[in-house]
């Protein structure tokens, strides 16, 4: 097991992405699933990728796993994991250093194989141990994810487990690969609120105990508030703001991040109209000149429609906006 890194003392960059773009050819012209995303994640951190449908958050995760659709063009200025170039090694790192926890555990598990067999499939691929050792390892991993009666569970099938238990099995499988970087794509969306809270607590505990690093893909601000150290806000395939999760939630600088938080039901007094964002995200087939959010931005100026916004820096908080102080 790797040594746990102590929060704050280590600032080793594990993942470094700059200017990542994913373009998928289609009959309607190139689809810009990811236009330009910067993402820097330190070892031992839980980093949230916040965004709505179509902002490119899942495609970013797929690019890290080397699982972009056939024909997709992936480009980046910097695309590195622990000093290794992901452009050539993403597939080799997948399932060794980088593992995925997907949204729907029922779809991630094979319905006709026992949990034991599915755990062993992973362990057999990644370790040279004997069958008995692998079995003991599988039971230990299942127990580590808080599953009771892990031994009995080995002979169970996925349908006999609740959604929360299935998600724990998927997490155990991710750990079985020995990966130190987990991509969790909306891991609680398919779960009930109380069960989701337990799964998040488990992830936090695993990060602390095993020195894992997690990229958490979500649209749920409660998830961000509950478990994330840092966060990056995406809009239309662009990273528009990045910083401490608490800073983004309490004082968002980018007008989109601010509007997104203001649209939450508990942001307005009871029964009052919510601050909905007018308009829609630009179609991913369309090229963007200027700021992608300008047509929906309440503070947009003429400049915003033509000139791409400059990067603003305040300590370790970064955002892209023509307004020097961010959203008013």
């Amino acid at each position: 097991m790797r040594c746990a890194t102590v929060k704050g003392t280590s600032a080793v960059t594990l993942l470094d992405l700059q200017g990542l773009s994913v373009t998928i050819p289609s009959q309607a012209g190139p689809v810009r699933a990811v236009r330009s995303i910067d993402l820097r994640i330190a070892k031992g951190e839980i980093h949230c990728l916040i965004g709505e449908s179509g902002c490119g958050k899942t495609m970013t995760g797929m690019a890290l796993l080397g699982l972009t659709p056939a024909g997709a063009q992936v480009a980046a200025r910097v695309f590195q994991f622990d000093g290794i170039a992901l452009s050539t090694s993403a597939a080799a790192l997948r399932g060794r250093r980088i593992a995925l926890i997907s949204q729907d555990p029922a779809a991630a598990l094979n319905p006709v194989l026992t949990i034991g067999r599915q755990m062993d499939d992973v362990l057999r691929t990644h370790s040279p141990h004997s069958k008995a050792d692998r079995r003991a390892g599988a039971v230990a991993l299942l127990a580590a994810t808080g599953l009771p009666d892990a031994d009995k569970l080995m002979t169970s099938y996925p349908h006999q487990l609740s959604g929360g238990m299935q998600q724990r099995v998927v997490i155990a499988q991710a750990l079985a690969t020995g990966a130190d970087f987990l991509i969790a794509d909306e891991p609680t969306t398919a779960l009930d609120v109380t069960v989701g809270a337990q799964v998040l607590a488990l992830l936090r505990q695993l990060v602390a105990d095993r020195g894992l690093t997690v990229l958490m893909i979500t649209h749920d601000m409660d998830v961000v508030a509950a478990v994330c150290d840092r966060a990056t806000v995406l809009y239309a395939g662009l990273s528009v703001e990045t910083g401490l999760a608490s800073a983004i939630l309490t004082r968002p600088r980018h007008p989109y991040a601010k509007a997104l938080l203001a649209a939450l039901p508990d942001a307005a007094p009871h029964g009052q109209r919510l601050a909905a964002i007018d308009g829609q995200i630009p179609p991913s087939t369309k090229a963007i000149s200027g700021c992608a959010f300008a047509p929906r931005c309440p503070a947009a100026m003429t400049l915003c429609y033509t000139v791409p916004p400059p990067a603003r820096v305040q300590g370790d908080h970064l955002w892209a906006c023509h307004l020097a102080e961010g959203a008013p």
Binding site: E52, R204, D266, G271, A276
Partner: protein
């Protein structure tokens, strides 16, 4: 306070178990009572298996009721059958979770909105066209959407069509089953705003079923929390949200307080 539009008293819904000697299943809804005054909103909150959907289906008369009573607008709702039930159902509109499943992919928006009117026996013609146009614009969509199909719309736009369809027969009660769960946060805000407007304009009562306490707390006058078929907590929204009596209700509020980072150790 006006007379209640919907009253449910000691309702029990139990699904049949298979097998001759199988023990009777636990009730999906266990002696639940509620009262929804005309023009107000009741938020029904619960997780999977809490019985909230079974209760909703019983109100819609889609599942048999074992015991208890339901009264809609003074009528014994469970005593109505056949063609009379068909007519009585005009007073309840229903909006489902996923508009792409609840709207036919083969019909145009105009045809989707005409369906309930035709089913009631209205004759096609200019009056119906006008009614459809009013419904659509009232739900915030332009008229050039009429010849389109659901798949050409975004999730939020499709849900607006579903709400327009539910309002076609001028119901007094709108039953909503997780109407924003499939939508993005910014779109959810638009739909919640629309529901608040419609409620005020048409004097609608809303029965809003969801697993997301925060969403429904924003527009509900009363909240009812269900678990394992029973009512765990019920009362005025403000009271339930600020001083919940049950720890379970607090758990449902989500992962810690609003952005306080409180959930972190």
């Amino acid at each position: 306070m006006t007379a209640p539009l919907l009253t449910v008293h000691d309702l029990v819904v139990r699904y049949k178990t298979r097998g001759l000697f199988a023990a009777a299943a636990k009730p999906a809804v266990d002696r639940v009572s509620l009262s929804l005054p005309a023009g107000s909103t009741l938020g029904l909150v619960g997780e999977s298996g809490s019985g909230k959907s079974s209760l909703l289906r019983a109100v819609l008369r889609l599942v048999p009721v074992e015991s208890g009573s339901i009264t809609v607008d003074g009528q014994d709702w469970l005593a109505i059958h056949g063609p009379a039930l068909r007519r009585a159902r005009h007073s309840i509109g229903f909006v489902a979770q996923n508009p792409f499943l609840s709207l036919s992919p083969r019909l145009t928006i105009a045809q989707i909105l005409a369906e309930p009117l035709l089913a009631r026996g209205d004759k096609p013609g200019a009056a119906m066209q006008d009614r459809i146009a009013v419904l659509l614009s009232r739900c915030g969509l332009p008229l050039d959407f009429l010849p389109r199909r659901a798949r050409e719309l975004s999730g939020g736009q499709a849900q607006r069509v579903a709400i327009a369809r539910a309002l076609a027969l001028s119901p007094r009660l709108l039953v909503l089953d997780e109407p924003t769960s499939a939508l993005d946060v910014s779109v959810q805000a638009q739909i919640l705003n629309l529901l608040m407007d419609l409620k005020a304009d048409f004097g609608l009562s809303l029965l809003f079923v969801t697993h997301n306490l925060k969403v429904v707390a924003h527009l509900a006058d009363q909240l009812m929390v269900m678990r394992h078929g029973c009512v765990v907590e019920a009362g005025a929204t403000e009271k339930v949200m600020t001083a919940p009596e049950q720890s379970y209700t607090r758990e449902l509020m989500g992962f810690g307080q609003r952005f306080g980072h409180d959930a972190k150790p």
